[in-house]
Symmetry: C2
Subunit: 378 residues, 2 copies
């Protein structure tokens, strides 16, 4: 098999296994020098800084061709820039700087599942609190379903709460949904989401920057968050307390000029505090539904949301002059045509004619003390 | 008494009684020509358009000096530009155009109560749905209390729901709160808010552009809304369904470059739909508390809100190097110092020393299979 595999791919596999996912320096070196050159340099001159020497030492133990074969036997592929399914938008990460010391274009992505990763470019990330409320999980699931029905894949993590609800919503709608993990794609974290992850690996995709077998470390979650934002056209945060990790994903989206969105909730709930702060301080747009998201991410005119109109009231169907008179009829006790004419700024004779016409349609009624609003106008 | 009253004031009283409150044409004429000139013109040449002839006819029946005296006997004063308590910011209305055919600087304001109207310039309008939820009324009352404690008067209407809750919140805090009415200040609409209005008239203020005795018409509510926005430095909408009248107040605030604010709520509640739409489409800032409002309306640095920080965790007190190692300890099953060193990007010897130091503080613990997170780090 090694004969079929390019030198670049093998170098990337080796580096993916030897280095830490999301390392800004490493990713930067590979982006600038190429994977082959980085492997060559480290192998020839292993005595660099602490970091480089650790990686150089690990590189000596890695047989990338064998790792690729082992992965392939378990249905895992390694996607690199030479693959047509490589998501080009990941390269926006090269100039997006660092957050929490993580950053850079990943050297490659390990993936399981039939979904091509380049289809995620029109997809939407839905992320949020692990300890979500039932309000949050309902909104996330409904939003994922709406987006799926409009041909948008959902991308999220695999945590409890909002992540889980987003996948569930897309799966209920029968539409694509992808988990990006902080650990290897062959592992399940949290363990009780194994059935979900197995299902995604079978029908959609499970993706990670970390090699198979890698454990979930805190730094890897931070590195993973940037991929969720980078892979998609926009990120929605549904519930996030102050300091929630999902705000980190939102900040990556903002940095990469993706559409950053947040779902509001009661101001009395701590679970929405982080989202409100992001909307309040700018850059993040308030969304209330999948339709709102589609309007924001869609091409011009593609998904225009109806302005909320409230119910159409009978009075809205009247012509302007009739409405003018109707608006001048007191909401409390009745009034005479002269007082109504004054309020309406119209001649009494015209108001008189109009009142009788309005009375026929039930908008006003005449009482002994004057005219008042009728059933149809209330 | 007439000898003490200026010609301008008498002309304004006459026009206030003869014309419809909030009439853009009339208010514009008075702003440009002066009240005396308008009265003179109408009296000399009563045959104008429909509107002007109606007003001219009414003018003949008005004795402004007697009206002023009658009002004064009932504790009602008429505030005009010649009074020191005249709120100068009302003059922003002269160039703010029309909404729903209403607009312009009012000819004068009828007022009851000891509060000077020029103190409202640093105040905040809190408005919203009549059919508010208990969530909305609680937030409005708490916000009014916070603003009051920081020396900001509250201005609202007198409707059920948010208006009522805002007054209640300020009254509980023992701070100034003002109702601006669509009817005369001697009337109570809705009738069961008479005790509230009487209390405001006794201790704070009740204000209207409409003369004493005027009935509440729909157009007068629309005219009234512009005054609530114009009198204050900012307007907060707490709950508003699509097409709620309080959105009209918010639009006036936007037009006059006042601070426009909205409180979010669950996206599943129709009572927040109008607010969310305003925040989403721009110009209206999301606020979650009176503190947020103070930050937005305050002078530079006057009321800086603490960023939501979440609880301070023990790990936050560690120095950077220790955190770096701690972040590299797996969240799941244990790992050896070499694997932790790789993830942390540090030399194994240093990681080893750090792990032992972290173990003493309970952040990590050593097991037979390696190191894992301890109690203090969870």
């Amino acid at each position: 098999m090694t004969t079929e595999v390019s030198h670049d791919r093998l170098a990337r596999v080796a580096l993916s296994i030897a280095a830490e996912p999301g390392d800004l320096v490493f990713n930067g070196l590979v982006s600038e020098l190429g994977a082959g050159e980085v492997v060559h340099t480290l192998t020839e001159n292993p005595d660099h800084s602490d970091l480089l020497s650790v990686v150089a030492a690990r590189l000596r133990d890695v047989d990338p061709a064998r790792e690729l074969e082992r992965a392939a036997r378990r249905g895992i592929r390694f996607v690199t820039p030479e693959d047509t399914e490589w998501p080009r938008r990941l390269e926006d990460l090269a100039s997006a700087g660092a957050l929490n010391d993580r950053g850079g274009t990943p050297i490659g992505l390990w993936a399981r599942g039939p979904l091509r990763l380049d289809t995620l470019g029109t997809g939407v990330a839905i992320v949020g609190a692990r300890s979500a409320s039932s309000y949050g999980t309902e909104v996330a699931a409904a939003m994922a379903g709406t987006l799926g029905h409009h041909g948008r894949a959902v991308v999220s993590g695999a945590a409890a709460g909002i992540d889980y609800a987003a996948h569930r919503g897309a799966l209920s709608a029968g539409t694509p949904t992808v988990a990006v993990l902080a650990c290897g794609v062959d592992r399940a974290y949290p363990a009780d989401h194994r059935p979900l992850l197995e299902h995604l690996a079978e029908s959609h995709a499970v993706v990670s920057e970390a090699p198979p077998g890698a454990a979930p470390h805190r730094v890897r979650f931070l590195a993973r968050n940037r991929l969720i934002a980078a892979l998609t056209t926009g990120t929605v945060v549904v519930e996030a307390a102050a300091r929630s990790g999902s705000l980190n994903t939102l900040n990556w989206a903002l940095r990469m000029h993706r559409v950053a969105m947040g779902v509001p909730g009661p101001v009395t709930a701590a679970t929405s505090e982080g989202v409100h702060h992001q909307i309040r301080t700018g850059g993040t747009t308030l969304v209330t539904s999948g339709q709102d998201v589609l309007e924001l991410i869609g091409g011009a005119g593609e998904h225009l949301v109806d302005e909320p109109r409230g119910p159409v009231r009978a009075r809205d169907t009247l012509r302007v002059r009739d409405q003018q008179v109707l608006d001048a009829v007191p909401v409390g006790s009745p009034a005479g045509p002269d007082s109504i004419a004054l309020v309406a700024g119209l001649a009494v004779t015209e108001v008189y004619r109009t009142l009788h016409r309005l009375a026929e349609a039930g908008f006003v009624e005449q009482t002994r003390l004057g005219w008042r609003l009728g059933e149809a106008a209330r």
